[in-house]
Each structure stands twice: as structure tokens, then as C-alpha cells.
Symmetry: C2
Subunit: 474 residues, 2 copies
């Protein structure tokens, strides 16, 4: 990608002005929600609502047409019926807009030849006029640093800017990834919902993110492509530059049929896709949760190469079953749970004592409770110090801890855990299953995430993410 | 199992009196927590705390020895050092107690020959004296209807009595299953943590639950057995009588090594176990979350035979990506997502219109939003009425709905969903992913569960549970 094209796409995420065509003074309409969302998110550029009806929305005048807008328009959000798109494109060209993204659906994804013809005409008009199209059938750009939320969301929540950027062929999947991010402190640099990809497509944005200085990790939800070679090559470039995690929707017969109706994508067979992603050096997620898990792990720990996992369970009650099932989860995912060095075992034995403990790896530290918090804390550090261990997975069951220990001791145990990243050079991962005390668990999760530790809801998901990011899926 | 033995085991869950040996006046000690837990849970029988130290706990006198207890003792909780167990067994025999469960650990699971010898002696003493042992290395009985919580939990939370009973070789896994139950409204009839199983074992309780009138569904966490044929036969009997879901810990090399340290179980190879469970007619879960998922599905819907799933997404924002990934999740798990009948499609087309919708199956109902809640509600009923659909999976993203629709509309949509079990004969399953608005999501989950609908956090887990319970794991 030339420097010129890179700087061109920068304006998708940092446009100086945005017109919302198809706005409305009725705040319940999508067109109005784009405007209120941008205002609420603190977008600093000019916002121009446009609708033939006129009126006001979110404290702004609605202009009767794009040509009536007084200033320059760099980026257009189009929430108009499919029958009006060609006329709008002409107006965009006259206005010298640089980008238009069409929220509008009803094109090639309906399977009709009219839809495909319309897309071809749109592309001709845009190319002639030097205008780039995003979509149609998409929710466009997302950039927390610029105050641009993803989609028509009136509250305009963006979260803090971060290092993860994503591309999604589905607006819904992009929106859900952003919500997972809000809940799990995954912080985004940029995002783009590309929909039917008739002009700017996944490859363009992969190339852009590969070079973007604010992007350290790339995620994408794809359904298919009409330009396979081009996608493969941009994936190779992106993966070589930054860890790139891909979720391919439509891996199965039923999924592929749904993808045809959704974004008009013709999906290849799953083995072909998997082989392509593997050869390109990308990480393949099987569903949105795995995509979010990998991005969180990368954001918190950076790229890792883990083979040997140390597992710690039993922060409150006996951790024997967790040790067993955690070992199963690691082995299922190609991770090793090696025995501890004899010296480590001796140190643990001195600290905790044998009865009721499992001091092999997994380590069930539950009897340390009876010897005090310092012993528990030290036992975890001892396991982390073992030379044979690359990474530590600790299961913390907040509800069990509440039941067996009480609220205060649960808080104290958690205070030990959040110190671990300062106390050991080994990456630490925490499994924090949902349970019966959700308000407390959510508070604990926030503290652990804020300490830079990735958090997963189950041992299976933690092991899977570690394995995927380490390049060794089981 | 003879009627006599069945009525014998009833007293494990409904004992007339419980002595807690190894109690303490220090409420932080485990022995004290058993007593406070039973009091808090409202256990109606006599509770006798026993400890040489004397004193009081939870408003009760602590007796210096079991023989000093004034009344009959039917069930003994033993939280004493391993070196005292033989003496305690003698006292239990003298007192004519019927059951003793040993919280005490440090026996065969340590791998020492002393531990194995001690277990043999314990068994001899008990058999001679007509006493049955539960454990050692376990947390014993659980029975909400009798006011008996699981383990030394001071708050004594039991949840409401229900129809699910379980057996766990791990106290921690049993406790976590109960916490999952509290969080997800899985209601238990009975539970038992069996630990090292030197006397009463998994088979005894499988047989008991198979005949117990209050138990409709059985779950178990196993690590291994020394009596394989016996276990197989009781599993056959249990599965023939009631849906029985088994999680076998130690499926992998690392898990099997951990199981040896945990309950002294010698695990067979995974294929042998899977084949055995399949032949016995049991449902095999791969981890504790799957075990809980299957039990919840069974409790809410009863046994089901589903092959053809209807998927509905897009309650707020575009559900296209959810349609695709939901189809993938169903196909991954051997479930079919068949096309709708042409008549169903016509009815949906009339209701919603084509643009932006996917009306094939999965159905993306998002454009129905623009036509009002009644339309959305009716569209879901129309999908459910299709003759080719056995079961409906609906994805409800509370955070997305809040962002795109707002709080009030989210509540109204949810009110439609909870009416569905009254409006259709087809089983309904709801996927309610965690996200950025957990307090709201938890409230919605409670309403949906209370309406008798099973709720899962991801499409993959919903599809997996439906597939497992239907006897068609992919």
C-alpha cells in the first residue's frame, strides 16, 4: 500500500466533517441516532444532518440536501432507501465528499440481479467522481480517539482508545465485538464495518491497519470474498506485521447458506479457508467469543509463545476437580501441564504441607488458606518461578470464595492476584467463571483486567486462547 | 437396588440428626462453618457440634466427645485430622451412627501406602459396626428440602428444592455446580460429594437417584472407579430411568495424572470411557459448563429430540452475522438449520418485508423493529409455527439492544420473549451473551429463566447442549 493510499484511508477514521443523509428530527429513527451518537461521543468535527424534511436534531439544524450544507463534507453516512442511492452518489460527487458509507441494505445480498446491477452502477458513479464507497449494508467507521461510535447508537459510547483494530463484514458482529470490548476492557483504536464490500474492502483495511501506528493487533470477521488472491496477500502482509485474528463466518453448510443471504458472499469450503488463514500466518477463531478472547489476550500480554502451563486452583475450597478439568482443557488445546521441578515441590511442601494439597501441577493451594494469605500468595509466586513453566493460569471462583471465605477474604485474595504481574516475569491468566454473585464477580473482573491480566470465563476458553495466540491450536 | 437399601440412603439426605465432629468456637474454622451453615440453612433436625475444646458455636453447645452427645446421631460430619479417624469411627459405632462423611483428606489420594492401609482399616471398622462411610476427602451431602447446604459454607445457601440431583467425586466441582445452579436457576433435589469412595460410591447414589421420586435428572462428575463393571451397570440403570449427564474428569494425559493425585483414581483411556458412557445411554459432557448446560436444558424443557433448529437473530441491530455464526454453531454440533417452508417465508415477507431481512432460517428479524413490537413478536411466532422446525434458538443481546433501542424497548422485547412458551408448543432456547451491561443482563436472564426458558451465554454452548441432550453430539 502506497503512503498516499494509507493517508487516504486515515480520513475514514479521522474525517474533518461528517454528513448524515437520511437524518430525522424523530430521535427514534436510525438517521437521527447517527447524529445523536456522534454528538454524545464528542466528535470534534462538523456534523451535518441532512433530510428533505428539515427540522432539528441533537441541537443541530437539518439541511434539506447535501448541496445545501454550508461547509466541506469529507465523510457521508447514508441512511436512505436503496432507490435513492444513485442520486445521493451524484450529490456526494458534486459536494466533493471523499467517502460515503451506506447503512442502506437491499443490494446483492438479496440475491436479485437488480441488487447486483445497482451495486455496479454505484461503483461506476463513485469511481468517475473520485469517491470511495464503504458498504453498502454496513455500519461504517468506528474510532474512539475521534469520538466516532460504531453505528446508530444514541448514547455514543466508544470506550477509551486502545491498540486493537478490527474489520467486520457484519455490522452486528462488529457491534457485539465492541460490546464485548466494553465489558472486558478490550480497547479499540479503530473499527470498520464493510458490509457488501463493493469498493473499499477487507483487504484495503487490513493493509491500512498493518501500517497504522496506533494499531498493534488486528481482528476481523469475514464471510467471504470475491477477490481471494488479493485477500490472501493482504492477510499475509497484515499477519507479518501484527498478530491478526480472523473469524470466518459460514464455515459450515448452513452457515455458508446464511452468509449468501447476509453479505452476498460466496464462501469457499472450510478446509480451504483454514488452510489459507494458516498459510497467511493468521490466527483462526471459530466464533466471536474466541475472536474477543484472542484480542484480549494479545492486548494484555502481547504476542506469547506458550507450551508449558502452570495451573493453580483452590483459592478457597478444594481445587482438585479444577486441577483435573483444567489439565484436560489444556491438553485438549495442545498445551502441556508439566510436572514441577523437585525443588519447586519442596518449597511448596514447606509452605503448604501435603495433606489435602496437590503439589504437582496443577497445584491445588486450598490448604494454604488455613496458613494465611501470605502463604497462599507466596505459593503462587513459587509456582510461577518454576523454570519449566511459561505461563500461569489461575482459577478464581468469586462465588465459591464468598461462600467458603466471606467477602473480606475474597477481596484480600484478589489483591494478591492483581500484584502478580509486578512480581513475576511469567504471563498470568485468570479464569473467573460466572456464578451466583455476579455484581461482585464483575467488580473483581474489572480490577483484574485493570492490572493488565487477561480474564476468561472458563478454563476451556483460557486454554483455547493461549493455544491459538501461541500458534498451537490442538 | 433393594427397597431396603434405597430407604437406607434416604437418611443421607434427610437425617434426623447431624453431629459435626471437629467443630470449633472460632467461626473461621471449617468445623465451625459446617455448624453455622446448617443453622443458617434452617436444618430442622438436631445439630450436635463436637470438639474436645468445648465452648459454643452458632448458639449451640459444643460437646466434648461424640459419646457425650445426649440424643441419637444419625449422620456424622467429620472434620478431624487423618490420625484421629479410626478412633472417631469406633466412637461412631458405639453411638450407633448410620453415616459418617469425612471432610478429612490425606488418604489414598496422596499415593502413600499408609493412606491406603488406613482406608482399609476404616472400612473394616465401619463394616463390623454397621456404619457407612462417605468419602474420605469429600464435602458430603446436600439437600435443599432438608436445609442441608453443600460443604462448610457459613451462609448456608441452598437454593429452592428442584428436580436435579448430582454426584461429584470432587467437592470443588460439586460446589461450583451448585453455584452455577444459584446463578442460573438450576434447582437441586439432592447432591453428594463422594471423594475417595472407599465405601458408598458413585454407583450406590446412581441407583438411589434412579429410584428417588424427587429426582428427575441426574448429573455426575467422575474421575475414575476401582469397580468399573459395577459403575457401568448402575449407569445403565440410571440412564434407562432418567436422563443422566456425566462429566469424566481426567480425559487427557495431564488430567488423568491430576486425577490420580486428587481422588486416587486410576483413569482408563478417554475412548474407553466415552464408549462406556455411550453404551450405558448416558450423556457425556466435556467440562463443568457443559454439565450445567445440559442439566439446565433438561430441567427447563425435559428430554428433547431435536434435529431441526430455527434460529432468530437481530432483535435490535442486524442479526446477519449472528445468523451465520449461529448456523455454524448448530452444524458444528450435528444440528440442522433447514430452510423454512415457502408459506412461512411468505408470511414473514408480508410481516417484515425483504430489505435488510434474511427470511430463510436463520431469520434476521431486525427490520421488524421499524414496524413495531407486535410485528417482531408475530414474526417469531411464525418461525416457531413452521412444521420443519423442532426447536427455536433466539439470540438476545441485551447490551446491543440497550445501545440501539434503549432500556424501555429492551424490556418490551423481553416481555414478548418470555410469553413464547405459552404461545408455541416448540421448545424455545435463548442465547444471552455477557457484555457491557451486566446488571441489566442478569435481570433479563432471571426473567427468562423464571419463564421456564433455558438460557446460554453463547450460541456454541446452546447448540452443544441441545445436541447432547438430543443424543446427537457432532
Amino acid at each position: 500500500m502506497s503512503d498516499e493510499r494509507r493517508s487516504e484511508l486515515r480520513a475514514v477514521f479521522h474525517p474533518r466533517s461528517i454528513a448524515v443523509v437520511g437524518a430525522s428530527s424523530d430521535p427514534r429513527k436510525s438517521g437521527a441516532k447517527w447524529v445523536t451518537g456522534l454528538r454524545a461521543a464528542g466528535y470534534a468535527g462538523a456534523i451535518y444532518p441532512v433530510a428533505a424534511s428539515g427540522g432539528r436534531i441533537a441541537g443541530l439544524d437539518i439541511y434539506p440536501s447535501l448541496s445545501a450544507v454550508p461547509g466541506d463534507v469529507e465523510y457521508v453516512v447514508a441512511s436512505v432507501p436503496a432507490r435513492s442511492v444513485l442520486q445521493l452518489l451524484d450529490e456526494c460527487v458534486s459536494k466533493r465528499a471523499r467517502f460515503v458509507h451506506f447503512f442502506t441494505a437491499g443490494f446483492s445480498e438479496t440475491g436479485s440481479s437488480e441488487g447486483e446491477d445497482l451495486e455496479r452502477h454505484m461503483l461506476e458513479v463513485a469511481h468517475r467522481g473520485g469517491l470511495r464507497i464503504i458498504g453498502p449494508n454496513c455500519i461504517g467507521n468506528f474510532c474512539p480517539a475521534a469520538g466516532i461510535p460504531l453505528g446508530p447508537v444514541p448514547a455514543g459510547k466508544t470506550g477509551l482508545p486502545g491498540t486493537v483494530s478490527f474489520i467486520s463484514q457484519s455490522g452486528g458482529m462488529g457491534a457485539k465485538l465492541v460490546e464485548y470490548g466494553f465489558g472486558r476492557q478490550i480497547r479499540f483504536s479503530k473499527g470498520i464495518s464493510v458490509g457488501n464490500c463493493i469498493d473499499l474492502d477487507t483487504s484495503d483495511f487490513l493493509d491500512y491497519f498493518a501500517h497504522d501506528e496506533d494499531t498493534r493487533f488486528i481482528g476481523a470477521y469475514l464471510e467471504g470474498t470475491r477477490r481471494g488472491r488479493r485477500l490472501y496477500e493482504s492477510l499475509c502482509r497484515a499477519s507479518a506485521a501484527k498478530p491478526t485474528v480472523i473469524l470466518k463466518g459460514g464455515r459450515t453448510e448452513a452457515g455458508s447458506a446464511a452468509a449468501r443471504s447476509h453479505t452476498g458472499s460466496l464462501a469457499s469450503s472450510p478446509p480451504v479457508w483454514s488452510a489459507m488463514l494458516h498459510q497467511a500466518g493468521a490466527i483462526e477463531a471459530r466464533n466471536l467469543e474466541e475472536l474477543a478472547d484472542c484480542l484480549l489476550l494479545l492486548q494484555q500480554l502481547g504476542p506469547i509463545r506458550t507450551r508449558n502451563v502452570g495451573i493453580v486452583g483452590g483459592l478457597a475450597d478444594g481445587g482438585g476437580g479444577i486441577s483435573v478439568s483444567g489439565s484436560d482443557a489444556c491438553n485438549d488445546n495442545g498445551l502441556s501441564v508439566p510436572p514441577l521441578h523437585p525443588r519447586t515441590r519442596e518449597r511448596l511442601l514447606d509452605l503448604i504441607g501435603e495433606v489435602g494439597s496437590i503439589l504437582r501441577n496443577p497445584v491445588d493451594v486450598s490448604p494454604a488458606q488455613f496458613r494465611g494469605l501470605d502463604v497462599l500468595h507466596e505459593a503462587i509466586r513459587v509456582v510461577a518461578s518454576d523454570d519449566g513453566i511459561d505461563l500461569l493460569i489461575i482459577q478464581e471462583d468469586v462465588d465459591i470464595m464468598h461462600s467458603f471465605l466471606g467477602v473480606d477474604e475474597t477481596r484480600e485474595v484478589n489483591e494478591c492476584l492483581v500484584k502478580l504481574p509486578q512480581e513475576t516475569t511469567k504471563p498470568v491468566v485468570i479464569v473467573l467463571p460466572v456464578g451466583s454473585t455476579e455484581a461482585h464477580r464483575v467488580a473483581v473482573e474489572e480490577q483484574v483486567l485493570a492490572a493488565g491480566i487477561p480474564v476468561f470465563p472458563t478454563m476451556a476458553r483460557a486454554a483455547r486462547a493461549v493455544s491459538l495466540v501461541s500458534g498451537r491450536p490442538g
